[in-house]
């Protein structure tokens, strides 16, 4: 009897659960429909206002249209973002042919709508994802008045929030906060490489100052990562450190420093790069060959050509790509393509088919 009762209760519980699921499903589906209809409706209304703003005959009537658009937005960040999208995507107005004019127009809209206040309120939200989003948007709007508030989140325990806050600091060019953040994640090797790359790319302040600040407190791994990242920015102040690293015994540092030196393409580094091109590590050989290709001297060309016969496939490919950027004569090219070294000829052909055909 007891077993039967339990079975019936279990069945009733299942039925109740199914009922709840169906109600939930229907409500969610309705919400999605409502949301889509609302967005569609907003888009339609925004289109009228946007047309008014873009094609207003006089500046005062444009102001009136912007005021109407602002009323439509009414402090709602979603509507604001839809409005901006509509303005930027509207084809056929004068503003689209002149990006500067477009930015001025958006600045006028922002002056009226005050999006900084909208995102500022969002920064107070309990939801960590909303706060993260607000950080990014406030940085886009260069909202300096929220700098200190966002800076508080840089070392927050929540990874999402701290990342977004640090990214905002990047956009605001704050050396100290960004360096603090990068040092705080230096042991997190799974993420730090990518983040260093992203942050240096987006940083609006002095990259040299940021790198120096990070070097002051970071571990060797982060130092190598930063060196590799800033290689493309060719910071002359770090050249001595690069030369020291490229001739030193620390393998990771050597890779980073050869890459950084190679990016400069200075003739005075040729000897060092020639030595690196003979290194036992193929990563170093490959970086050195890339650097030598920028020099275009006969000795550099000779080493790059020798790289075509390297035992490592990647070095052969790098050499083949490098050669297309150097002043190689038709005779030399024929020699490679028709030579006895099939590895070299194949690597060269593969690159030539793709570069010569598509680039002219």
């Amino acid at each position: 009897m007891k077993m039967e009762l339990i079975s019936v209760i279990a069945l009733l519980a299942c039925l109740l659960f199914i009922g709840i699921e169906y109600i939930l499903h229907y409500r969610l589906a309705e919400l999605q429909d409502e949301h889509e209809a609302r967005v569609e409706n907003i888009r339609r209304r925004l289109a009228i206002h946007v047309e008014g703003v873009l094609f207003a005959p006089t500046e005062s009537s444009r102001d009136a249209e912007i005021a109407a658009l602002s009323d439509e937005i009414n402090g709602d960040f979603e509507v604001y973002e839809l409005a901006l999208e509509a303005i930027r995507n509207y084809q056929g107005s004068d503003f689209h042919s002149d990006p500067e004019k477009m930015e001025l127009l958006i600045a006028r809209v922002n002056e009226r709508v005050k999006p900084v206040e909208i995102y500022g309120k969002m920064l107070e939200s309990d939801d960590v994802y909303h706060r993260s989003y607000a950080c990014r948007r406030l940085a886009d709007l260069e909202a300096a008045e929220y700098h200190d508030k966002i800076a508080e989140f840089v070392l927050d325990k929540n990874r999402e929030l701290s990342y977004n806050a640090a990214m905002a600091m990047c956009r605001m060019g704050d050396v100290d906060r960004v360096a603090d953040y990068l040092v705080s994640i230096q042991n997190d090797r799974l993420y730090s490489g990518r983040i260093v790359n992203e942050f240096f790319a987006k940083f609006t302040g002095s990259r040299q100052a940021l790198a120096e600040k990070v070097f002051e407190a970071c571990n060797p791994y982060m130092r190598c990562t930063v060196i590799k990242t800033v290689a493309e920015y060719k910071i002359a102040a770090f050249r001595d450190m690069y030369i020291q690293g490229a001739t030193g015994n620390d393998f990771q540092m050597k890779i980073a420093c050869v890459k950084a030196l190679a990016a400069f393409g200075y003739p005075e580094d040729e000897q060092l790069l020639q030595i690196a091109a003979q290194d036992k590590s193929w990563v170093i050989r490959s970086s050195a060959i890339r650097g030598l290709s920028l020099l275009r001297t006969p000795t550099a060309l000779h080493t790059v050509k020798r790289g075509l016969s390297d035992k490592e496939w990647w070095v052969r490919q790098t050499s083949a790509q490098a050669i297309t950027k150097m002043n190689i004569s038709a005779k030399d090219l024929e020699e490679i393509l028709g030579g006895y070294d099939r590895f070299a000829a194949d690597a060269m052909k593969a690159v030539l088919y793709r570069t010569v055909d598509t680039e002219g």
Binding site: E4, S7, V8, A10, L11, C14, L15, F17, I18, E21, Y22, L24, H25, Y26, L28, A29, E30, Q32, D33, H35, D127, Y129, H130, S132, Y133, R136, E160, N164, R189, L190, Y191, G193, R194, N197, E198, A201, W313, F343, D346, A347, K349, A350, Y353, R354, D357, T358
Partner: protein
Amino acid sequence: MGFLNAVRSFIVVFNYFCMAFTILLNIIYVIQLIVSLFRVHKNYDKAFSDDFLSYVDSENLLPISLIIPAYNEEEHIVQNVRSLLKINYPEFEIIVVNDGSTDKTGERVVRAFHMHKIETSIRYQIPTEQIEGVYFSKEYPNLLYVHKKNGGKSDALNAGINISRYPLFTCLDADSRLEKDALLRLSLEFLKDSRTVIAGGLVRIANGSRIVDGELKGFTMPKKLIERFQIVEYYRSFLMGRVFWSSTNSLLIVSGAFGLFRKQTVIDVGGYKRNTIGEDMEIVVRIHRYMHKQHKKYRVKFNEFSICWTQGPMSLGDIRSQRRRWQIGLMDTLISHAGMTFNPFYGFVGLFSVPYNWIFELFGALVETIGYFLIPFTLIMGELNMFFFVIYFLLSVALGIILSEGSLVIEQYTHRAAMNAKQSIAISVYALLENFGYRQIITLFRMEGIIKYRKLRRSWGKIKRKEFEQ
């Protein structure tokens, strides 16, 4: 008399076993559903601040090689390549590998994209059948067409890997379509966690949906019942099963229609296994095995927001062939890696994921099939209490509905549902109806796969699918 009693006792015990098995399986499913619900909820919230489109111009985004193995795909191939050329991703190449087709697949690609034969170096990191020609086009510099001797889908994929240039690759079915941002979303799994070696996307049934240039343009309820059931089935399988297993880093299958792989890892394990029809599952299990043996940290991820559309089979015959093939693929993989079962060396994968697949996904079909025949038989013989039979039946149907409806709720929660409210509720009726006939038929097909394992494990079988809208 003694023999009859023994048979009778066996039947009674087996009945109880069937009941316990079903209840245990459903409890596992309910746990999966709950975990998936929380996981999707978290990911949905996270997606708010993710701003994935800001990565479009990021230098950190890894370039991707899209490999399309094609065997007699003259109907879909050109249209599929055209659609892929429009995807939203900064750097990618498309490699169409014609695996010795006997139709005009090759001619159509070469003609449609104005390609010409080139000489190029191929790094044979994985042995494959001979590559007879590589074609290139000035107009489409990120498209390559490779013609090779027939060697099967795995061999074609391996050839594509050999010829690819980029560190990530994805294998795509010639008859599937990617959503515009699908690759971008999926590749972020690699960008945000450098341990990621595989990431799978959500595969949706395209029957009834209008997909133009990687964008969903509308949905009308497909005409055939079988197509409607598959829509529910796919949601259940992907939004419940895969989300759960990936959250424990023990996902064993990434759909052959859409998965992104770190190329070097696949090369390290020796590429796709030839002579198997479950190559998509086999490679994932082999990578789990390899990474554990090498004591490397790794992640196999699933991203429910990156979507690939595929046309589901439209006839019972085609479904039969497909499910039989899936079951054979599952069996082949589990047998090949039997040493992982209950092996603590492989962590959660060895202790839970592989045994789960053995017990519930493989032998589950066997137990269910026997149950379908034995339980009514026992009832007729008077050995089973009618009340218990009815309750058992109703409970298993109710649990089935909870799971299917639950995955539809998850789908709706993501706010990316293809259907409007009315259609969505209409499709949920099929979550109920599938329990009366469809699921049983599918189980019988799976059972057939087990029985015909030896005979069919090498054969492919072509499924007729609907065309995508041009």
